[in-house]
């Protein structure tokens, strides 16, 4: 792998300032969050926007860390690793992408939530978030129940895709858009 190849990609696809592909740990996530805090400071981002970016980043990477830990005999090769990418366009809007491999059992849990989120507007998402937080005795678990609602609350747009690898495994890609202009809802 030629490093210039990556450099080129970084420059082509907007100013990517943080990307990682590998094993994830809590320490690493908090280190990367610190780097994001520096980025936000450097760019003079409004506190609200920067906090939204941090939380979306944390939710996605902790999700990735947790979902990838769902191992059973048939999915021994699903490791706590994946790709996480933070980028921004020339206007200064931010994008956070995550991609990792999930087992079909996890896809079956995640997909209905994301479908529900897609069908709701911002107010609906906030309402559902609070309902789930209130009722959810099962939201304690790793990769909990309200994580995606948290992300949806804090971003301008969320996209997702499952791409089949084989009948038990899927690539799971999430893209969160964060507009840096406050009037954009």
């Amino acid at each position: 792998m030629n490093i210039n190849h990556i450099q080129h990609m970084v420059e082509e696809d907007g100013i990517v300032f943080l990307s990682y592909g590998g094993f994830l740990s809590q320490e690493l996530i908090s280190g990367m969050t610190e780097a994001l805090e520096k980025e936000a400071q450097y760019n003079d981002l409004k506190m609200n926007i920067s906090n939204n970016i941090f939380i979306i980043f944390i939710e996605l990477s902790q999700n990735m860390m947790n979902y990838s830990k769902t191992k059973d005999l048939t999915n021994r090769d699903i490791k706590p690793e994946g790709l996480i990418l933070v980028s921004k366009d020339i206007k200064g809007n931010y994008f956070i992408d995550s991609q990792n491999i999930v087992a079909i059992e996890d896809k079956d849990k995640i997909e209905p939530r994301l479908q529900e989120i897609e069908s709701l507007d911002k107010e609906g998402i906030k309402k559902r978030y609070r309902e789930l937080r209130k009722n959810g005795k099962n939201t304690h678990g790793k990769g909990g129940g309200i994580g995606f609602y948290e992300i949806a609350k804090k971003c301008t747009k969320i996209e997702y895709k499952f791409k089949e690898i084989n009948k038990n495994k899927f690539y799971f890609h999430v893209k969160a858009h964060i507009a840096t202009y406050e009037d954009v809802e």
Binding site: Q26, I55, K142
Partner: protein, 124 residues
């Protein structure tokens, strides 16, 4: 009852549980195992309200940002406070930076969800 103090880390807040009736949580909250992390605090509080059925307690919460499992944990924490607020006088100060709209909204949501608990929004 003994006081309990947890130093802040990069992803957990400073927690100060003072048996004289002042409790504070200050910092960020996104632990890997949220419920494990807050378990000693919840245990301390349960014991505290058992010993101090009546009394006055002030809780100062200044959480800059927190992940979804912390949000759930805080909900359960407020639930525990609400259970005890009839006999025990409890005031929660939800402290946030004026620019931190998410933190303000989170406080407003808690106020709506816990009608009998006295939660005050305090803008820094």
């Amino acid at each position: 009852m003994k006081n309990l103090i947890f130093e802040a880390t990069k992803y957990t807040p400073e927690i100060n549980l003072d048996a004289k009736g002042i409790i504070s949580l200050v910092g960020k909250s996104y632990p890997e195992n949220t419920f494990e992390f807050y378990k000693p605090m919840i245990k301390w509080l349960e014991e505290y309200f058992e010993v101090n059925e009546f009394g006055t307690t002030t809780i100062n919460m200044e959480i800059i940002y927190f992940n979804s499992s912390s949000s759930k944990l805080f909900f359960d924490f407020f639930d525990l406070l609400e259970e005890n607020c009839e006999k025990h006088t409890i005031t929660v100060n939800w402290i946030y930076d004026g620019e931190n709209v998410s933190a303000q909204e989170a406080g407003e949501d808690f106020i709506e969800d816990f009608e009998s608990l006295k939660i005050k929004l305090v803008e820094k």
